[in-house]
Symmetry: C2
Subunit: 235 residues, 2 copies
Amino acid sequence: MTTGTLYLIPVPLGPIAPEACLPPDTLAVARRLDTFVAERAKTARAHLKAMGHPRPMQELAIAELNEHTKTGEIVALLAPLKAGHDVGLMSEAGCPAVADPGAELVRAAHRENIPVVPLIGPSSILLALMGSGLGGQRFCFHGYLPAKEPERAQKIRELEKAARRDRATQLFIETPYRSAALLEALAATLAPDVLVSVGADLSLPSQYLKTGSAKNWRGKSDAVKDRLVVFGIGA
Amino acid sequence: MTTGTLYLIPVPLGPIAPEACLPPDTLAVARRLDTFVAERAKTARAHLKAMGHPRPMQELAIAELNEHTKTGEIVALLAPLKAGHDVGLMSEAGCPAVADPGAELVRAAHRENIPVVPLIGPSSILLALMGSGLGGQRFCFHGYLPAKEPERAQKIRELEKAARRDRATQLFIETPYRSAALLEALAATLAPDVLVSVGADLSLPSQYLKTGSAKNWRGKSDAVKDRLVVFGIGA
C-alpha cells in the first residue's frame, strides 16, 4: 500500500496575512489537507482559518505533539500516513521541525519510509541571519543561552571565541522579558569591536533589525525590551 | 535626507515558477525596484524576468557583487541607497547574504544606518534542516567539508563528536560531482548508528530527501550522484 506524505507547513511569524507571507504552493497544500499535527490544536485552527482552509475547522483532525507527548505516542501519529493519508505538520510560528518537537515526527516518518516534503515559509532564524550581514558561510544556532550569571557571561565568552576561531556567525534567541538584559550582558561582556546583530518581529510591520559593535550597543537595550529577539555574534 | 532601504530578495532554488515558491510580498518588492545588486547580472535578469518585473530588463541597474569585488568597491554599491533609492540584493539561488558575498553589503548598510529588510523565500539549508527530522534546537552549518583525505575523514569525525557533545545537528553541502563520494565517506567513517540526512533538489519536483543511519547508507551513494546535496548529521 502506498503511504501518505508528511508535509511540513510553515505559518506566519505574527499577526500578518498568510496570503502575503506564504508562497501559493504552501497555502495550496495546507488548504488541501484534512489531517494535521501541531503543537497546539487551537493555534493550528487559527492558522488554518487565516490561510483560507475551505472546510469547517471542526471537520479537521488536529493531533497535538508537544513537550507533553511521550515518545511512544509519536508512532501513533504516523497511523494516518501509513494508511495512505497525507498529513500536515505545523509549528506555533514559523517553520516546523526546526526549534520545536515536530522534528521527532519527521524522524519517525523517515524510519518508516514515509515521504517528507518541507514547504517554503518564514523562519525568524534565517531572516535574522540574512539581515545581520554577519555572513552565513558558517553559522551555528544555539537556542536559548543560560538565563543566570555567571553561566550566561561564560557562554557569551565561549560564543565569541567560537565566532573568531571558526569564523562562524553565532545565533541565539531570547524571550521578550529577558531580551533587554541579554543585550546589556552582550554589550558588557564581549570585546568592544565584536559585531552584535539584533532582529525582532522579523517579517512583521514592527520589525527591528540592526547590527553594530558591542560597544555601540551599550545603553541601548531599550530597543529590544519585551520583544522576542534573534541575536547574532560575528567577529 | 532619508536613505533608501536595502531589500534582501530570495529567488527560486531551481527551474520552478517564482509565483509558486515566493510569497506575494517578496514578488511585489522585486517588481517595484529598479536597482539591484547580484552575484551575476545575467542570472539576476533571468530571475527578474521570470518574476514578472514590468520594466524592460535593460532599464534596470544591476551591479555585481561577487568573489572579484574588492572591499573598497562595496561602499560604492551603497551610493544609490544613500541617495534615497531602494536597492534589492539577490543571490544566484535561494536567500541572499547567507552563503554568498552579499553579506558584506548588508554589513556595510548597517554601518551607514541604512534600513535592511530580509524577505521570505526558499533556503536549501533550512528546508534540509526541517526535512531531516534531526532537530533544530541547536544546529551548525559548515559550508563545504575538505575535498581530500585524510582531512575529510578527520572533519567527519569532528562533526560526529560535535553532534554528540552539543546535541546539535551538523549541516554541510557538497557539489554535484563530489556528493556521492562524500556520502560514501560518511557511511564508512561515522559510527553505524549516527543519523545522516540527505537533501537534494529541495523544493523542486525532483526533490530527494531521506534520513537514515550511517550503516544504512552504505552502498547507496548513487541516490545523490551528480546532485547538489545538503547533508546533515545527528547523533
